[in-house]
Symmetry: C2
Subunit: 179 residues, 2 copies
């Protein structure tokens, strides 16, 4: 019961952190819209297009990279925890999955590298038009955008883990389950 209370309190803290984080994300999105409005005003349409595409690809590639790292870590974790009772079939499946995910993870990392190069290209374009302050806003917005996605993912994972632990504990303390 003490453990349950401790995990519940931890979950409470995590959920509050999530609230704050969602506010940060919203604030950053507003900054992004402001930057976008300025860019649209001052840049050529094809340059604005590049800006939009880069921003649009950014969270997708970051999310993809995080999701693949997570899955790869889980498969590698499962592989490390195999015991002598594991069937060769099961081990083979896991090794194959690991191979596939490693390849996809490599691909996603390369997409991210190209995206970083596109970030610099877009920065160079914007540098021709924006004031120092607006340019700093753009850089801050982009950096925060990935950072906030990463933080959000970590927080969601921790909350999910806590909820599972809590469910496990509650179930184990309640030997007679009502159907």
């Amino acid at each position: 019961q003490e453990l349950i209370d401790s995990i519940s309190r931890k979950l409470q803290v995590l959920r509050e952190a999530r609230e704050t984080l969602l506010e940060d994300i919203q604030a950053n999105n507003i900054l992004g819209e402001e930057v976008e409005a300025i860019v649209k005003d001052v840049c050529k349409p094809n340059e604005f297009d590049k800006f939009k595409m880069f921003i649009g690809d950014l969270d997708k590639v970051v999310n993809l990279l995080l999701s693949l790292s997570g899955r790869l870590a889980r498969v590698e974790n499962a592989l490390n925890n195999l015991d002598e009772n594991t069937s060769p079939e099961e081990r083979r499946t896991l090794v194959e999955k690991q191979k596939l995910l490693t390849q996809q993870h490599e691909d996603a990392k390369e997409l991210k590298e190209n995206l970083d190069r596109r970030e610099r290209i877009v920065f160079d374009i914007l540098a021709n038009y924006l004031s120092e302050e607006n340019l700093a806003d753009y850089e801050h917005f982009v950096k925060m955008k990935s950072a906030l996605i990463i933080e959000q993912r970590e927080l969601e994972d921790k909350i999910k883990l806590g909820e599972e632990q809590l469910k496990c504990l509650t179930d184990s303390l309640q030997p007679e389950r009502l159907k």
Copy 2:
């Protein structure tokens, strides 16, 4: 035994198709290298850079899209084949997976749409420099590149399925397995 022979023959045909496909892929890669050499010669470095990034992202995004469609199809298939013995827990896990994969699939589709726009941007750049013939080579190379990846994936899936069927049948005909 008749079924085994039939599947074995089908696998043989598929493997020959794979050989031919690999030759096609190699031929297309050579065409790609020729186009790249010309582009490098005639375009500005930053334009060549865009060309390279687009080509580099192309197979990654197409592969990603295919892998996500495949996984999504498998999860939806599993969901459609649930019977009354399935635990709510199991069903919940599948539905959650489906939700996650649907989102990732949407993201990948958007990445692909942006990639298609980048293809047109690169095309417009190259149109300033290349002869009609070289431009046609570029278009052919790009179109074939995705088409060949898709074909390769389908073929690999079919071969894998055939191999699994064959293994199942062989195992079932051999009641005493030597360890």
